[in-house]
Symmetry: D3
Subunit: 284 residues, 6 copies
Amino acid sequence: MSETPSLLEVLYEPVVRRALAEDLGRAGDVTTDAIVPASLPGRAVVVARAAGRVAGLEPALFAFRLLDQDCRADVCLADGSDAAAGQAIAHVNARARALLTGERTALNLLGRLSGIATATRDVVARLEGLKARVVDTRKTTPGLRALEKYAVRVGGGSNHRYGLDDAVLVKDNHLALAGGIAEAVRRVRKSGGHMLKLEVEVETLAQLDEALALGVDAVLLDNMDLETLREAVRRARGRALTEASGGIRPDTVRAVAETGVELVSIGWLTHSAPALDVALDVVA
Amino acid sequence: MSETPSLLEVLYEPVVRRALAEDLGRAGDVTTDAIVPASLPGRAVVVARAAGRVAGLEPALFAFRLLDQDCRADVCLADGSDAAAGQAIAHVNARARALLTGERTALNLLGRLSGIATATRDVVARLEGLKARVVDTRKTTPGLRALEKYAVRVGGGSNHRYGLDDAVLVKDNHLALAGGIAEAVRRVRKSGGHMLKLEVEVETLAQLDEALALGVDAVLLDNMDLETLREAVRRARGRALTEASGGIRPDTVRAVAETGVELVSIGWLTHSAPALDVALDVVA
Amino acid sequence: MSETPSLLEVLYEPVVRRALAEDLGRAGDVTTDAIVPASLPGRAVVVARAAGRVAGLEPALFAFRLLDQDCRADVCLADGSDAAAGQAIAHVNARARALLTGERTALNLLGRLSGIATATRDVVARLEGLKARVVDTRKTTPGLRALEKYAVRVGGGSNHRYGLDDAVLVKDNHLALAGGIAEAVRRVRKSGGHMLKLEVEVETLAQLDEALALGVDAVLLDNMDLETLREAVRRARGRALTEASGGIRPDTVRAVAETGVELVSIGWLTHSAPALDVALDVVA
Amino acid sequence: MSETPSLLEVLYEPVVRRALAEDLGRAGDVTTDAIVPASLPGRAVVVARAAGRVAGLEPALFAFRLLDQDCRADVCLADGSDAAAGQAIAHVNARARALLTGERTALNLLGRLSGIATATRDVVARLEGLKARVVDTRKTTPGLRALEKYAVRVGGGSNHRYGLDDAVLVKDNHLALAGGIAEAVRRVRKSGGHMLKLEVEVETLAQLDEALALGVDAVLLDNMDLETLREAVRRARGRALTEASGGIRPDTVRAVAETGVELVSIGWLTHSAPALDVALDVVA
Amino acid sequence: MSETPSLLEVLYEPVVRRALAEDLGRAGDVTTDAIVPASLPGRAVVVARAAGRVAGLEPALFAFRLLDQDCRADVCLADGSDAAAGQAIAHVNARARALLTGERTALNLLGRLSGIATATRDVVARLEGLKARVVDTRKTTPGLRALEKYAVRVGGGSNHRYGLDDAVLVKDNHLALAGGIAEAVRRVRKSGGHMLKLEVEVETLAQLDEALALGVDAVLLDNMDLETLREAVRRARGRALTEASGGIRPDTVRAVAETGVELVSIGWLTHSAPALDVALDVVA
Amino acid sequence: MSETPSLLEVLYEPVVRRALAEDLGRAGDVTTDAIVPASLPGRAVVVARAAGRVAGLEPALFAFRLLDQDCRADVCLADGSDAAAGQAIAHVNARARALLTGERTALNLLGRLSGIATATRDVVARLEGLKARVVDTRKTTPGLRALEKYAVRVGGGSNHRYGLDDAVLVKDNHLALAGGIAEAVRRVRKSGGHMLKLEVEVETLAQLDEALALGVDAVLLDNMDLETLREAVRRARGRALTEASGGIRPDTVRAVAETGVELVSIGWLTHSAPALDVALDVVA
């Protein structure tokens, strides 16, 4: 059985079409069209310039397929593989024009998603031996959420909710407007679907106790110092899933996880992880 | 006259709609809809959590407008302003639901674009006293190219071409397939529009001489060591615009610019600059 | 606080635009354009021809707004209200052309959604005094899922998952391919997000026991006879949410609910409930 | 020659894509992706759970094709066939994931369209021996008009106009605003295209006489009692096509048709016909 | 009552948005954005450089509205008016940037549609005193059919069918594949909707007689010499509408119409009529 | 190497889909569906009825491919070829229905683009022996700009800018608002990208001198008489590219070019060139 998460073409197709259209503009690749004959066959290799975890190879290759439906690719390092610097990720056979014209679209997708997968993998590695899981947030790039959350899974992380509609997360602003946790939870339970989990953000141990007494599914422990966090985890054990959040970075994540918290959510993975350096070398 | 670059709503509208739709999913904000009454008015402030240059405020606020057309905003720090940590960027009056539901979409846009503007501003600052200009590349986030290039301008940088169709850039792969610079340039001139500039990527001084002899508009000096770059700039002076490229990072940019090169292009600005930390505080 | 579920214009707008475009075709309303002067003001009343619960008034009125942005409506019976036969639901003031041209689009939406709300209300009423909740399924009209699930809520029902991605539901086909409940649940827990609930479909008490032992969130008790269902509910009490499913119709729902099951899911509500008869009377 | 109406893929493709996207959401089928290996082949049979006329098989199968382009289907009962309860409609070979993920989209389409075809067939059967034809209305599901009108044809019915632009139908509201039939018809003839038929709705015999004197193509006899209807048909014979309309249901349709009216239009066929019960059984 | 045909904004909006997007590209109007301050108000006049009939003013002005929602226009010559060379068509007040940026989109629409209206008007004028009507064809510009057919109406012409679905037109290729007129008409009557008119293309008087005997609604008399055409019209009088077609140009149209034929269809009106010269003068 | 410009399917696909959808409407080709069996194979030939240069054959044939993916075409005269009247352009094998249903969409595209290519070719021929190039403008059909500019290249012309964003063109209205050429150019240089060429429209020799002194890339010499134009060309030689513009028509173009101007831009090519007469003959 496949252990690597997979991607549905029907889901990523509009993203790749949009990205390619953005690069082609109205007139297409004026340089390549002028220089390279339409029928010339080509061969190229997608290469990792730096070490990292591959993610997004399928949508990247799809850019070439949109330009040449006879395009064929031999994949050396599928999504979830770790590439060394200089290693080939895939060999692509297509018309030379398709390779040159699709290059930037393909690499922009592959570089960004592999960058996220690599960052996630590295954070996960820092938690070795601990039971805490690394989870993402909704702080993703506009238009790329599903792909970026996929990349987090490829990196070994887990996904928090995908949007505002697939789980209930009561945050500080909600509490302020509802007049407290109990009333907020009452309103949610009155209207909400039974298949949606309910998580409440708490900032103090008193809030935590109130949330736990209400039987919520999960508590988001926001910006607590390590000692408070440890106590919160102790109180919630067996009663609700615990999640630590708030400005956690790669170098602080282990200390947070050592409190025993079950989930550590890190916005940095998707809003600020650097792209992986990938390139396309055409074999003339 | 306005010195700040401006944005056309008709251009960014589909990006913001797509981002909002991605967050709303099918059912919308189930938490807010359950907790916050539909008619409750609200007030919030967009705040910079870290210091940086503001970019993308208009599309960010547009997310709230899509949710409440009566939304009004008082802008404290328009695009191009430098915010200190903790400083208010804008005050927003809208129905409370619109504020909570639009928050993440607005902040994701504002944080990413301000991150790029801030990174560009910082790189530009490193070149103080030099005449070199900082330019971007096509290594942008799929679907966000126009907005990211706008953010580069807000940061004080200049834009390279927007896509494959608005300028001719002959790269190494083209040269390989065409059999040399002269033939590639001949083909381009035969087919290309007279309003498109022609730039050729060169890796050696010999290639540079060939390109200069052909009267190209610009030369992209790729991955040259500083000494070679200096000589290249000397030879090209008055004959073609010079651009240095290839893995240039904030800490190496000044040395490159001191060679006298006119343009320094940096992919890092758009593919790897970290987001600016921005937040929305609802005034209960 | 509003107790009626509400709808986001940004979510229903594409549905209404599509429906209107489908009716207008290429040439628009050739009859009205020929007969009614462009500037003639008009007034009409939306009327319930039969008794029922109103749902979808906002998207219905939006059809008129697309044709005349100065259109104003006075709502007599908002979503969630029960209309008697002949009762006015809303008065609409707009250019006469907009009223005649938008009529069918508006009524088709309002009639269908009110039909679902009415059917749901009637089923909910049959369960008076019982604690069971009526829930919908994914057996909705292609393109209208979010609106139809909204109508179920307006009728007093609750929503099951909105799609394949916002909850895990392991069905018989999954079990067959995975080789049993335990392995299926193991695989789901390995890959799934922590914010997704997990429900397993079971057809026998033995399967039920296996699912309960695995600690799933909910069990879908499929096509069980009432006696078996009663026993299943007894075993699951306090361990997992129980849902009865499988060809349940309005006239059988109470007997099912009397087994003590917590949720009764009824596909009929969305795939076969008749439309409510609504009309538009123009006041000449 | 094919006697079954046929469907153009290019017309139904957006409907199926939209329906599938609606079910997949952002993350796709999280259950199936976790449990079923990506490469596992599968085989399933589409089955009629109840007796009825098949309609919409092609768009239904297209849902599987969007998920696996190598999907192949053997059709047992094409559109227009009558299925007995339990009978196989088609066998589908595709990757197991495609079968499970596409199931609901395919069945929702097939069930709804077959429901309409079945209802139409049953109404047509009630008119055996009479010359009256069963026709549909514009009271269709938003977004599905072309498919639903196709299903009416598959059921043996005929189509009234597809929208506001492909025929002229002067209704009571138009008459009120124009000041009478003669003036309304004059305006239509002045502006309308010569290829559009002209039908006028009349409620009394006096109105009928006026319309017939103007030489209209068809008269819509609205809500007339049977005796009046019979007289109206007698007067219109040979002068205009006659159509009866207004709350006609399966159990009243024969009496209406026995008046000799040529067309009986029934909104119920598309706005309230129950879905046909269809299922997908995966062959493990 | 308005005698001028009117246009629905909801129908032309996508055409104007697409045209504007095509001109703006990714970066918008780089010239105007650099030179004209964002807040500078402006005023301009839309002028006819040559004499002609105005058509398409509303969609043209909509381009400015997309760029500045506060744009206001004073219309001097609405659609259907005849402009002299140099005459003002409308005065537009908007931000100066909106005027300059929207100019080409607005003028391209107005020029093309006014060109068609003018050509139609001129052809209609040639038929003065005759009863024949000028009608268009489906030989329209891809993407602009509804607007171009509207322009024909503004010019005083009438519309033939809008597409393949709103009337039946049996042409020579159909006859060849069906094996004759009688069989083709039989097939159409068996499947077709009762609200669709039926026209048959005939090339000989024998074919005409066959079609008339079948009681078709209209006959398209294709490429007949004037004498044959005259005889065809004589035979068809009172039995079917007659339409002459086939390479008719402005200078041959009167002779054709003098045969007594009721409709003269001219593809040239939409596929080859020159644009009207219109301009925008900014009042500095 | 191919000397004929080529077209990217990914760019023209939406245009062809839109055009086909516009012709199919909601119900598709009701005539063909009624008369021609679904499985009947067909063969047709695309023919030039008049002599001209072929352009747009690929997108035209794509219309058939959308209707029958097994469609195959044998191209006799590819884009860039000159057809004699009556000559076959391509033979197409597809299901008969696809041929009849796609006919008008295919021919409308081919006729319009070939019309532009033919007109351009004829204008280019008039300049034989002169060095001036024929260039297009932005006066194109809304929605078809990229295709029409392609057709100009096929006709031997060159392309001016594609939109408002791929080159800077300072026109009279800009000058009025900026207060002169020097200030306008200063503003452009301050904000503009280094890869965009800068052209200034001048109407007098004094303006020309000012523009040349500023070192602009090109000057648009607007509506100058031939003598002034000749002097302008003399002054600009070696300093800026010269372009003549303003109401130039086929019969005046040679005189303009004889002034020595390098570019002659002609809006007429795209806004008013008549379509080439092309037809589809089905081989029964």
